[in-house]
Symmetry: C2
Subunit: 160 residues, 2 copies
């Protein structure tokens, strides 16, 4: 694991907030020579600490209503079918534009982050697309109403 010192961490924090800053602006902000900042950022990129640069979309393009859905599959008689079924659910959900993230949870579970523009559309999607999946044992819906941390995750995940 790469060790970071205080300067590396400071640079990462600055870039997380605004990755458009120039080397010279970062140097000024952190009161270090430009050559040092340049070298450190180069190293952070080479070592893969900084994986990539990206954009976060603003409010008008973020879905207003988010929910996490946990889907648990019924365990079939033939266990291999469970594996295939869970993969099928993950793949199917991944292709939908209003499904922003999909992860496996244990042997028989899938968690998905759903984004819609009204509570009605969110509920309809869950009723019509999630609850109608065959052989489900359990569906749990957790609406995400207000973020105290990580609130711009929707602006990062949302597609256009």
């Amino acid at each position: 694991m790469t060790q970071l010192d205080d300067l590396d961490r400071a640079i990462i924090r600055v870039l997380k907030q605004d990755a458009r800053l120039t080397i010279s602006q970062i140097a000024q902000k952190l009161d270090r020579p430009e050559s040092t900042i340049h070298f450190r950022i180069k190293k952070l990129q080479e070592k893969g600490v900084i994986d990539r640069y990206t954009i976060v979309l603003g409010d008008s393009f973020r879905p207003r209503n988010l929910a996490l859905v946990y889907i648990q599959a019924e365990t079939p008689v033939i266990e291999e079918f469970l594996e295939r079924y869970v993969r099928y659910v993950m793949r199917t959900l991944s292709m939908l534009p209003n499904v922003m993230a999909v992860a496996r949870s244990g042997k028989d579970g899938v968690v998905a982050l759903i984004g819609e523009d009204s509570p009605e559309r969110l509920n309809r999607f869950i009723d019509e697309t999630i609850r109608t999946l065959p052989t489900l044992k359990r569906v749990e819906v957790f609406e995400l109403d207000e973020f105290a941390k990580g609130g711009d995750l929707a602006g990062f995940l949302v597609g256009v």
Copy 2:
């Protein structure tokens, strides 16, 4: 709501993948004049479609074990206490570095995304920090084992 056309969407997709590309590189990629690309990006920024530029951290800085935890509070006799208690839980969790996102879920619930570097540490954190919170009615833990979509969300949320 701002209307995007195909070119706007194409620019956003390119920048989401690599926000370090120059205007001239994007112009080449999308086979449009630089002046057009420049103007469009400026507009996207002004309208707040692009909220900010940021970095995504690489694998070595992402926690290896993620879990979503749903916490439901016991409804107290005096309803105002519930509101205060939920706010207290959200604030407390938000301050912890291994808690990557915190959202309210309904009147009495909180959802948190936890990141740790081993399943043991993850379980210990949930047992010692979450389950010991006073007056909980229900705690549900969903480990996130493998992403099919949105997998670099940890690299976006993780702090240093």
